[in-house]
């Protein structure tokens, strides 16, 4: 089942350059989902509160989370996401510059769905993003736009 096109792809990353490239590449790949850029933990909390608690905004189709964030570390943010009723089930894909085994271990333990090392090479980045989109937007089923009411499932 295709995800609702209104569901945004959320990128949590403090590097505007990286986000700009990613946004560009997504467009290049023909991805129609809106991109929401949250530069830090504070912005992420506000986003979850505002879009989540009133139940107005559609849930993200997936979240790209950078680990090395200022103030609130990406891993702590991952924990907060997994505690939030609204986005608990949304796939979170970790994008990190390095593949520190401890980080990999920790993130999967805390509920990450994938762990990627950002390639320096532009072409590799492009290929990687293409695979991510093909997988999560093309093949995988993702949670619905709105959180289902309790007892409504099945």
């Amino acid at each position: 089942m295709r995800a609702d096109i209104a569901q945004p792809i959320v990128i949590i990353d403090d590097s505007y350059e990286d986000v700009e490239i990613t946004t560009h590449l997504l467009k290049e790949l023909g991805v129609g989902h809106p991109v929401v850029h949250l530069p830090d933990g504070e912005a992420t909390r506000l986003y979850i509160q505002n879009s989540g608690n009133d139940g107005h905004g559609p849930r993200p189709v997936f979240i790209l989370l950078d680990l090395n964030l200022p103030v609130v570390h990406g891993h702590d943010l991952l924990l907060e996401i997994r505690r939030s009723d609204w986005v608990r089930t949304v796939p979170v894909l970790i994008l990190s510059t390095t593949n520190n085994p401890r980080d990999v271990e920790r993130c999967y333990a805390s509920g990450a769905n994938s762990f990627f090392t950002k390639p320096v090479d532009f072409d590799k980045q492009r290929r990687m993003l293409a695979v991510i989109c093909e997988y999560w937007l093309g093949y995988a089923a993702t949670p619905l736009s709105a959180k289902p009411e309790a007892g409504l499932s099945d």
Partner: protein
Amino acid sequence: MDQATKAAQSNESSVTAGNVDLSNCDRELIQYSAAIQPHGLLLVLHEPELRVVQASANAAAVFDLSMENVLTSNAEALLGALNTDQLRKRLGSTKLDGSPVHLLRLDVGDKQRFHVFGHRIDGVLILELEMAGDGAAETLDLYSELRMAISRLQATGSLDEFMNLAVEQIRELTGFDRVMAYRFLEDGSGDVTAESLKPGLLPYLGLRYPASDIPQPARRLFSLTWVRHLPDVSYEPIPILPETNPLTNGPLDLSYAITRSVSVMYTDYLKNMGAKATLVITILKKGELWGLISCMNHERPVHIQYETRMACEFLGHMISLLMDSKEEIGNYRYKLKVAAAWNQVAEYMVREKDFRDGLTNHEPTILTNMDAGGAAVIVKGDVRLLGTTPTAEQVLSLTAWAATQAETVFSTDRLSSLYPPAEAFQQAAAGVMGIRLARNTADMILWFRPELTQTVNWAGNPEKPVEVSFEGDSVRLTPRRSFELWKQSVSGRSASWESWELEAAGDLRRNIVEVVLQRAEEVSLLNRQLEQSNLELDSFAYMAAHDLKEPLRSINSFSGLLRADSAQLDAKSKKHLETIQTLTQRMDALIDSLLEYSKVGSMELQLVPVNLNTIVERVVQTTKNRLDEGNVALRIPRIFPMASCDAQLVEEVLQNLITNAAKYNDKSERWIEIGYQEQNPVTYFVRDNGIGIDPQHAEHVFQIFRRLHARHQFGGGSGAGLTITRRMIQRHGGRIWFESTPGEGSTFYFTLGPEKREG
């Protein structure tokens, strides 16, 4: 047995030295002699009525009564009512269960003056009346003499000096011909350590007397009373009547009696020595019988008066008290010197990484100033020797034996008697003192004392303390008559270890244990800090890599965007953008190498037994494509042994070496051989027929980012591969090196454990 002893034996055909000794004297109950010496008179009274129970036979003459009358009378009848009143008062107020106490002076008739002493034993009161001299005792003079003597004794600086003065003072006080200080040795024999004598007499100083000369019962009596006096060695004993105490039906115990008759053995012995009168003062050290001060008159009998004997007793107390400190002063200088040296040693020990270096490598060492010929430090089977010692092997066997002895500090001056193999090296180590560093190991420090081929000057042959004489039908043992010098050498013994030396060794032991424990604590603290800093370093490396890579990625990405989007750029500009991207990729590789290098340094090694063949198999699989592409043949001539190593690191080592070997090869037929040499430790190698390494670059091969070839030659690379490889090997404690002939090939060797050091 030496020649002299044999000769002496053959002269005495009927008696051998071995089967006769004074053991019968050891059994003689000399306190039950039931007789007194004639300068005294003894009454045994029953309290409270002071009825006479027993009396010495001379009582009849003194009191001018028949013996029957004496034995049926009482104190009032014999001493008079006044004296008895005084006696009763004294009896009521004085503790009398021990040494006799002076109770009163007594005049019987006009001429007979007595000192009366009393003590209680076995439920009776024993009164001893000792004849007093004519002149009134000059108590004041005695007092000032004593005071002077004590202050002079206190001023002496060593035990020898102290004892010499002590015998001098006692001779002055008593007027005896000869006064000797006699010290008991461990085996019961005794040495004359100081002597003062009238000019013309043969000195006994330095002579040793066998244990049998002062048998056990006599030693017991000496330790009971401070002063024993025998005014006339040739006295006729006065019997006590009746012989058995009618109240107890047993013999009268005269252990404490002043005027007790002494053993015939003893008087014979004294006579044989040429003594006419004696006085013996007991010297105790910390409550134990240390020795005697023995006074003798050779010309005539002499009765030393009660007052003077009191002064002697007082001096005996003082000598006993002062001696301890004097003996310590004697050791003091030696002790100070050893303590100073060992304090220094303790400091070295703290400064050195290996505490043993502190004990042995600097001056002073644990041997400096110590009265020992050699020393050894044994830790985990490693023996360090100082001075004159047995060989390292002998020391090791000795420690194995000593480890079975429980004490942490131990010593012996006769090692070979406890540990027979020591006979082989007793010249160097007849005696040994040791400290064990831990209870459950053979780690210890030993000090050795050489054999003292001591010469003992016996007063007469100690093997023949008695002579046998035949008097009619009876055989009588008499103490030897000859006190001629009898020399005997003693082997297998060293000078004995002083108690303070053992204490000092114990202190050193505590110091060492403290340093070792502290070291262990420091090491564990360092380990914790290292762990922490490794963790931080690890994080730091990742952080640095992240921060360096982020801008790099953007540079690359935007260059890529420019190249893709901008149709108006000319070919040259596009080429420049491409170069920017290539450079960022190279920098990315460099950062990865640094990260890898840092990881190898800080990661925890997983040392387990590893089947190297499995590892080689995996490496072959992962490099197969590259080897096939390069037309490289892989030769693995034989199966690898098991190795203790970190499997992942060794896999990377092999992969790096094989990749390099495949890379730097310009031959048409290329091969790589992987093998090992059976050395200790096992040496592995990767050999190729490649381009080889110019010897002038030997130093640079393992340097990080040092490339020996143009970037585009041989497939490029970051230049960190061999540096990381070497670090992986170093983490195992091993090393890597190579042999190479330029143009013909190279062989890289490596080991996975530390080299065994010689010795």
